[in-house]
């Protein structure tokens, strides 16, 4: 997969030129606090723009419309970040989790049905978490009763980000209540137009409503919606969930470096009423340098993680290391930015949804950072994974 350095440099300038020509200049201002429909329309349009140049799903196999080398993907995401292109946040589950599920464990028919549809704009939602199954995902209680060629599903899902706009859902359901908790779960593709699905938005700490609750009342899913074996869904979820995390962490760490840290520097260069700049405070400058170092280390680490993953030489738990580092560093940077920018940091009341986890609205960004330290395995869970899988430390005794 080695791509000559010269070709990479050329690709970099191609992406850069394209971005400068095509990234809407004022998208952040226009999208900050924009109504939901406008956000959805913007995301769909941007997805098609990227698709046209072949950069919407670079990580997919060539036969489905991707086929970009990892080295090129790294360049692509670095340049998208450097040019502050909008992120594909709305299609995220579709192009990552849904696609990797289909590619790894789906049937040919499922793939043919959905992968092209995703390219045309089909949106997906995750239906995994439940009120009593957060970190302990395997304790989920949504039930699926088999009746001939269909399953009848009842239960409640939580934190289903984007459910309001989704066409399809990746759903984990307990289909064998008698089995040990990880062995009675099936993995389904659920059409969101099926009767019995009630989606209610949940306002998050910033007042946004991209999270949803999903109530499932006798929802009928045909057996053809199964992914992997009946009752064998837990393994499918494990294999497919984290498939694309490496490249996502790389993209986000690039954005933290290029957008987040750079804007913080800019904010610290603004001259106050008395002509002084935050940067002139050596205490602030010292902290900025410390953050720059950590961000540089994180970006380097993320590149290494995707390269090693590509080479089949991943170190154990390194995806957890990257996630923990990114999320906690993001949080500390945003907390610090809120502190030093001071009262002005509290006056920005909206931020665009199409960004990375940094928008320059520091207080909102600080709060938003908890969306990275909590979901997808809390920082506490990540540390346990790193200790046990990364270092081989003994597990805790099981609860009685």
């Amino acid at each position: 997969m080695a791509v000559p350095d010269r070709d990479l440099a050329e690709f970099r300038s191609t992406v850069g030129d394209w971005c400068r020509a095509n990234v809407p200049k004022d998208w952040r201002r226009a999208q900050a606090g924009a109504p939901e429909e406008q956000f959805v329309a913007f995301q769909k349009a941007w997805f098609q723009e990227l698709r046209q140049v072949g950069w919407a799903v670079p990580h997919w196999p060539a036969e489905w419309g991707g086929g970009m080398s990892v080295a090129e993907q790294i360049v692509l995401y670095q340049e998208l970040a450097a040019n502050d292109a909008p992120r594909l946040v709305l299609a995220f589950v579709a192009i990552h989790h849904a696609a990797s599920t289909l590619l790894v464990a789906g049937t040919d028919e499922q793939r043919r049905c959905h992968l092209p549809a995703i390219l045309d704009g089909e949106l997906w939602v995750q239906g995994f978490s439940e009120p009593d199954a957060g970190s302990d995902l395997a304790s989920l209680r949504t039930t699926g009763r088999r009746e001939g060629d269909v399953f009848v599903v009842n239960g409640q899902k939580l934190w289903s980000s984007g459910a309001a706009h989704a066409d399809w859902c990746l759903l984990l359901v307990r289909t064998d209540p008698g089995a040990p908790k990880r062995e009675g779960i099936s993995y389904f593709l659920m059409d969101m137009r099926t009767p019995g699905i009630d989606v209610r938005p949940i306002r998050n700490a910033n007042g946004e409503s991209h999270f949803c609750e999903m109530f499932l009342d006798d929802v009928v899913i045909p057996v053809s919606g199964l992914v992997g074996p009946e009752h064998g869904g837990w393994r499918v979820a494990q294999e497919t969930l984290s498939a694309e995390r490496g490249m996502t962490m790389l993209e986000l760490s690039e954005r933290l470096g290029r957008a987040g840290f750079t804007w913080l520097l800019e904010a610290c260069r603004v001259r106050g009423p008395s002509g002084d700049r935050l940067l002139d405070d050596p205490v602030v400058a010292d902290r900025l340098a410390a953050f720059e170092i950590e961000v540089a280390g994180l970006r380097s680490l993320c590149r290494r993680v995707v390269e090693r993953h590509e080479a089949g030489a991943s170190a154990p738990a390194e995806a957890s290391i990257a996630k923990l580092l990114y999320s906690e560093l993001l949080q500390r940077v945003m907390d610090f930015a809120t502190e030093v920018v001071g009262l002005e940091a509290h006056t920005q009341l909206t931020k665009p949804l199409s960004s990375g986890w940094e928008s320059g609205a520091w207080m909102l960004d600080y709060i938003g950072s908890y969306e990275w330290t909590i979901p997808g395995g809390t920082s506490e869970i990540q540390r346990t994974i790193i200790g046990e899988r990364g270092l081989g430390l003994p597990r805790e005794p099981a609860a009685r």
Binding site: S129, D136, A205, V283, T338, T347
Partner: protein, 371 residues
């Protein structure tokens, strides 16, 4: 871990906690941040806590006020208490006596008048607040001009007291919100429990009877006002941090994952322990500062700056950790924890950042002698 100022304080605290119990964003499901009923506060005697009995107040001191402020922090109370009571009543009390003043104190205690006080909010200089307004005398006409940002509780106040320099001497000037030349720009912030505004005066003509001098040293009076503001915020942060700890302890005791209450896991348990340890120190720092301010100790700014710097920082950490330990639930609007984190972060920046306060403290080290 509240500081113990004795039985009177315990009683005041108990009454306040009971009355405010249902006003926390934790119990109102984040639906609204409705201000507390002002008349109820008046009838509880909380508006005139420091007003002399002669003017219908309780004649108590800052130590008692601190008890209430901490309780308000516990429920992230949305009430113009900081502007009108902590600063307004105190500003008037620090003035030389005059009938206008006494009359106003009476109305403040009764809840029939509300005021705001425009101090420098963001970067306090070492030792002495710089008046953000200045007086100009043109013949017999008096005018005030200047600007103060992020002034608490201006909108809805019947009168605004501006800290102004009258030939370098700090004085207070009372202006009506409707005075020609006075502009009030609400500055909405992420924290919906606080109401701030910029006050801009451009040659506002003032009645000579509305220009008041501080009793004693004008600089000391202005400094005292600023210290009250800083310490009030520290009390608030102490209260909200304590509430965050208690809410977290309750949550992690009830919430089970992997067959155990999550509070039985060391990662969670030790994080809660660190909250208690942090609050224990905060409580001491606030107690020491309150004692110094109440008893008018010279150099009271030292414990006040210590409390403001440390408590306002630790409260952000604790509120953030509370959200983290509540998991996804803690990140919802409904659960209301966000209101505490936002308020804690705003408190950290109000009336001097932790870095500014530490710089002020460190300036004492510069001499070659003892600190």
């Amino acid at each position: 871990m509240d500081s113990d100022f004795g039985a009177v304080h315990d009683e005041l605290r108990g009454v306040a906690r009971m009355m405010l119990a249902n006003h926390s964003p934790l119990t109102t499901a984040g639906r609204s941040f409705k201000p507390l009923d002002w008349q109820l506060l008046a009838s509880s005697g909380w508006l005139g806590l420091e007003v002399p009995a002669a003017q219908g107040g309780a004649g108590a001191g800052f130590a008692e006020l601190a008890v209430l402020l901490t309780e308000f922090g516990r429920v992230a109370a949305a009430a113009p208490y900081l502007g009108s009571v902590v600063l307004g009543t105190a500003a008037l009390s620090l003035l030389e006596a005059n009938t206008g003043r006494d009359h106003r104190l009476q109305e403040l205690a009764a809840g029939t008048r509300r005021v705001a006080v425009a101090l420098p909010t963001d970067r306090p200089e070492v030792g002495q607040p710089t008046a953000p307004f200045r007086i100009r005398r043109a013949g017999s006409v008096l005018e005030v001009s200047g600007r103060a940002g992020f002034v608490p509780d201006v909108v809805g106040a019947d009168e605004i007291l501006l800290l102004a320099a009258d030939d370098h001497r700090p004085v207070l000037v009372a202006v009506a919100p409707s005075a020609p030349g006075l502009q009030i720009d609400a500055q909405p912030v992420v924290d919906e429990t606080r109401h701030l505004a910029a006050v801009i005066a451009d040659g506002v003509e003032i009645d000579p009877d509305s220009l008041w001098s501080f009793t004693g040293s004008p600089e000391a009076g202005a400094a005292r006002l600023a210290e009250r503001a800083m310490l009030a915020v520290a009390c608030d942060s102490l209260g909200l941090a304590t509430m965050m700890m208690e809410a977290t302890v309750a949550y992690v005791t009830d919430r089970y994952q992997f067959g155990r209450p999550i509070g039985s896991y060391q990662a969670v348990k030790h994080a809660c322990a660190d909250m208690l340890v942090g609050i224990s120190i905060c409580s001491e720092l606030v107690g020491t500062a309150v004692e110094a301010l109440s008893s008018d100790e010279p150099g009271s700014w030292v414990p006040v700056s210590m409390a403001k710097a440390h408590v306002s920082s630790v409260a952000v950490e604790i509120a953030g950790k509370a959200i983290q330990l509540h998991g996804g639930v803690g990140y919802t609007w409904e659960r209301g924890l966000h209101a505490y984190l936002k308020r804690a972060a705003l408190n950290r920046s109000l009336f001097g950042s932790p870095i500014a306060h530490r710089r002020r403290l460190a300036a004492r080290y510069a001499g070659e002698g003892n600190s």
